[in-house]
């Protein structure tokens, strides 16, 4: 299958959604499961293929799209398609158990979101990156608001405004690049970035930084994020956390290393990442709303990822990529469980985690929590220790101390939730889980444990991805070879 189908298939399915709806709800839901399954299986096949690979579509040269898949994007592709598959399975239960008037709308934008975020990580043309960026953006705004309730609409609008601002910066950056170099091909830009007038280069870098940094929820551009998470449905939050934020993160660091910005801006981004981590974890302590709480937790984890990914050292980055994958899985798990609880209790107070009675849900939720806290034998531990080990190897002891100290703050609220769950004095209501959720949540939980006890399954890919990120020769070769 050509790489182009990663983008085309979701788009086609997205446009066909109304027709599927006419065939019946099961066709609608089934189509989404089918699509994500195909994409995931296809991605798994790519793991055995020598990379990078390229495929191009020229509409009428020089207009066209070129996709390059290297080991770095493969890791993200795996995460995205897998998360998409899990969410689409989960939605089988969700629309059965809940109000499904907005079902069609959800699937349209869900498929669009997949198309956009996958396009963003595969595209090797910065203008196409921008287009996919917009597609992802628009579908996220719509997904945030698809329930058409007050909070959701507010979230959608806010997201829209912030997204537009980010877009403006990015468009300006692309314009400046094009004016300076005369190309939008990422490979060419990377090669000739040093030729740009230094003052303009700073401006371009900053604009890209602000644009993608805002979307990737970096402090101090992330004040909007908790509102969005609070307003959206829980499974949408799962998507935001596991796919959307990660795709912006991908572009951010892809360009960061390709354009050679790592020599100048490492310290800035690392310290901003650290501040993000600190501020979000502290802020999370006071939250009463469960979705908001996990929004801050997501911000915090993104902070660690920013710190580690900007660190320039291959050990740390490899660890960060592991952590990223583990975080995606764990957060998805948590948000899906929360979705079940929220739809049962019709409330988003944090006390709902203390009100349910279901051994299965308790166990998977606790596994998710412990994994995010980095406690063995769960995958988060491997990610965290790899990051810390990387920092130690580059003798960056301040970062180690910082991460560990703030992690204690993080533990405060996670264990407060666990204590709520274990509190026998609360009256507990049993919660129906749904057959398909048993599968989805078990798969996620098993993966967390599996990566925790057998990390080489994943480190194999993260190491390849790190090499691809830090030594992009082969990527550049392919990107430059795009014959448009």
């Amino acid at each position: 299958m050509s790489l182009g189908y990663y983008f085309l298939l979701p788009v086609i399915f997205s446009f066909l959604t109304p027709y599927f709806r006419k065939l019946g709800t099961s066709a609608l839901r089934g189509s989404s499961v089918f699509l994500t399954f195909i994409l995931f299986v296809q991605t798994l096949e790519y793991t055995g293929v020598s990379l990078p690979q390229i495929s191009q579509f020229s509409v009428a040269p020089p207009i066209g799209i070129a996709f390059v898949l290297d080991n770095f994007s493969l890791l993200f592709l795996l995460i995205f398609t897998f998360s998409g598959f899990m969410v689409s399975l989960y939605m089988l239960w969700y629309f059965k158990a809940n109000d499904n008037t907005n079902e069609t709308r959800f699937y349209v934008f869900f498929n669009m979101l997949l198309a956009g975020s996958i396009g963003m990580i595969l595209s090797c043309d910065i203008f196409n990156v921008y287009i996919f960026f917009e597609i992802t953006g628009i579908s996220s705004y719509a997904l945030a608001a698809y329930n058409k309730d007050k909070l959701g609409l507010e979230a959608g609008i806010k997201y829209l405004i912030i997204g537009s601002i980010a877009s403006i910066f990015i468009v300006f950056a692309i314009m400046l690049i094009y004016l300076q170099i005369g190309t939008v091909n990422i490979g060419l830009i990377a090669q000739r970035y040093s030729e740009i007038d230094p003052k303009i280069a700073v401006l371009i870098a900053l604009m890209l930084f602000i644009g993608f940094g805002t979307k990737a929820e970096l402090f101090p551009m992330n004040f909007w994020a908790p509102d969005i998470y609070q307003g959206s449905s829980s499974h949408v939050n799962g998507l935001f956390s596991a796919i959307v934020a990660k795709s912006y993160l991908f572009v951010f660091f892809h360009l960061f290393y390709l354009f050679g910005l790592n020599t100048k801006y490492t310290l800035l981004i690392m310290s901003l990442g650290a501040i993000t981590f600190l501020v979000s974890e502290f802020t999370a302590l006071n939250q009463k709303d469960i979705k908001r709480l996990f929004a801050y937790s997501t911000l915090g984890q993104l902070g660690i990822l920013f710190m580690a990914l900007a660190s320039n050292s291959s050990d740390t980055i490899s660890g960060a990529l592991f952590h990223l994958a583990s975080h995606s899985i764990s957060k998805l798990l948590i948000f899906l469980v929360l979705g079940i609880l929220i739809s049962k209790f019709k409330s988003t107070k944090i006390t709902i985690v203390g009100d349910f009675k279901s051994l299965f849900l308790s166990i998977v939720l606790i596994i998710g929590f412990l994994s995010i806290l980095g406690i063995p034998p769960f995958s988060g531990f491997i990610g965290k220790i790899l990051i810390l080990k990387g920092f130690a190897l580059s003798h960056n002891y301040i970062a180690i101390a910082f991460i560990l100290l703030v992690s204690i703050v993080e533990a405060v609220y996670f264990f407060r939730l666990i204590a709520l769950m274990l509190d026998k004095k609360r009256t507990k209501t049993s919660v129906p889980v749904g057959f398909v959720n048993y599968i989805v949540l078990s798969v996620l939980a098993i993966l967390i444990v599996l990566f925790g006890v057998y990390p080489s399954l994943l480190t194999h890919y993260t190491d390849l991805a790190t090499n691809a990120l830090l030594q992009p020769h082969s990527y550049l070769q392919f990107a430059l070879g795009v014959g448009l």
Binding site: K158, I161, I162, I165, K199, V202, L203, A205, L206, F209, I210, T214, P220, M221, F223, W224, L268, V279, F282, T283, A284, L285, N286, Q287, Y296, L370, L373, I375, P376, P377, F381, I382, I385, L388, K389, F391, A392, L393, I400, A401, L404, L405, S407, I408, V409, A411, V412, F415, R416, A419, L420, L422, D423, K424, V453, Y454, P455, S456, T459, D463
Partner: protein, 590 residues
Amino acid sequence: MNSIFLLLNLLPILFLYQFGGDLHVSLSLTKEFTLSLSQTPLGTFFAYLSLISFLLVTIAQKSKKTSFSYYALQFLLSIAMLAIVLAGDFITFFIGWEIMTWSSYFLISKSSDIDTKSLQKYILFSLASAFSLIAGMVIAYSFANSFDFNVIQNSFHTMPFNIKVALIVLFSLSFFTKAGVIGLHYWVVDTYSKAPDLFSSILSAVMSKMGIYGLFLVYGHLVGYAELKDMFGVILNGTDFGYVLGWIGVITSIIATFKAITQDEVKRLLAYSSIAQLGYIIAVIGMGTSFGVAGAMYHTLIHTIIKLLLFINVAAIVAQTGKNKFSELGGLIYRTPVSFVMLLIGIIALAGMPPLGGFASKFMLYNAAIDSKFALILVGMLFSGAASFLYCYKLVYGIYLGHPTSKDLETQKEVPISYLIPQVILALLLVATGAFPGAFIKVINPILIEFSLNTIPYTSMGVMQSAVGNFNGLFIISAFVVIFVFILLLIWRIKSKAKNNLNRFDISYCGEVPSKNTQLHYGYGFGTDLYRIKFVNAILKRSSSPFYEALATQTKKTAGLLSRMYYGNIHNTMIIILLFFSALYFIGVN
């Protein structure tokens, strides 16, 4: 269920026995991480110590209704501890350490009188301890390029001095927290007292020993006592390092002893006593002499036995009577005589009285201090030992002696046999260690060789050798028994038939007759005298809780302050983004 898990608990013991002290396995996780088990004499000692403790506690659980998940978690905990003590590298060690942390957390949460605050205290301190450990291990990795203990040991002397100090401090902090050194003990008392009654015995007897194991591992194995001496220099006949640790341990034990005396809850008293006893171990663990190591090791063994015995005993009483305060108990001696005798043996050993094992271990500890000429530290240990008589007596008096404080105590029956079996085994162990203190030297000597220290001369089972005099445990215990029996027979033969009088109110009471409402049990007022002693009062009125409470309040305040940023509306966010951009731009361009 109980018998299944009893058998299951036997398995690791058999497994360990099967390998006969030479277990070396490793399994590669990733290219950097290897899980490896590597058995050392030190590890073997702690492994048997913990596994047998778990077995005994499982026996005691027979008559207490216990859920499957409780047993399963407890078994997981025992396996995690096995992984800790057999670990050949830090990754295995840490994985075991953290599994221990969370499985014990869930076990504690199963208690009926646990509250969120105590749970939070426990887990946060445990995690702080774990994070301190993780920091140490990655720093060690950055110099040794391996997590393997032997590699780290070999490359330790090549590290820069400040890194060495940082490593020692980080590891020490981590293990001190687990052992409950004063200042870091904030979690200990609440956790021990509110955990399920039988699980408290595991917490105090075994889990705290994992901290001690860690200290041995770091000081004896990774760093090496010779290296410690080179690094920090020598004071008197010992090392500077040992001197500092000596004071830390002694202060811990003195403060905890006085705190223990004033407790009204039985398990709180035992918790403080546990802190105090571990203080002794920490006081000698850094001395770096054969006697220091031997004393610490012997006391580890004895304290494990004693605390298992006492906590199981108290758990049985609490289960039987439903009361856990000295002011609510009393007068059970003739209702539960076997329990009484078991507790008596426990406290005789706890007080360090001859002729039981408690004295032998104390003797080793004191010898260690004499050996290094740490006289004031020795006096401190003796002093805290003298003060500990008070809480030992309070323990036995408050529960078993005096008068019953309520009607239902007068009709109690002896506790179930399953509680008594482990107690009898442990009590026999205490007698055996008292009679044959020398036997333990054979266990210690391989560990001393492992630490490249001189071995302790062994003459016979009954004799404990030391640099400054020996004592013959067998002689003492037999002399004691002979004289005891002799005097007993003598007084038995004297023809004055004692009138047995068990009436509660028939006592000399200044010529009055106490009425039904007269409080005759002294359990509550016990230890209040201490508040009037200036020195002790200074200790008792201080506490580490204001510090930690303040820390929590400050964290909350900071959180409140920071979270205000996130309630700004979207305009503000936009302005901030633009301002941030311009600020960065000006910095970047200039």
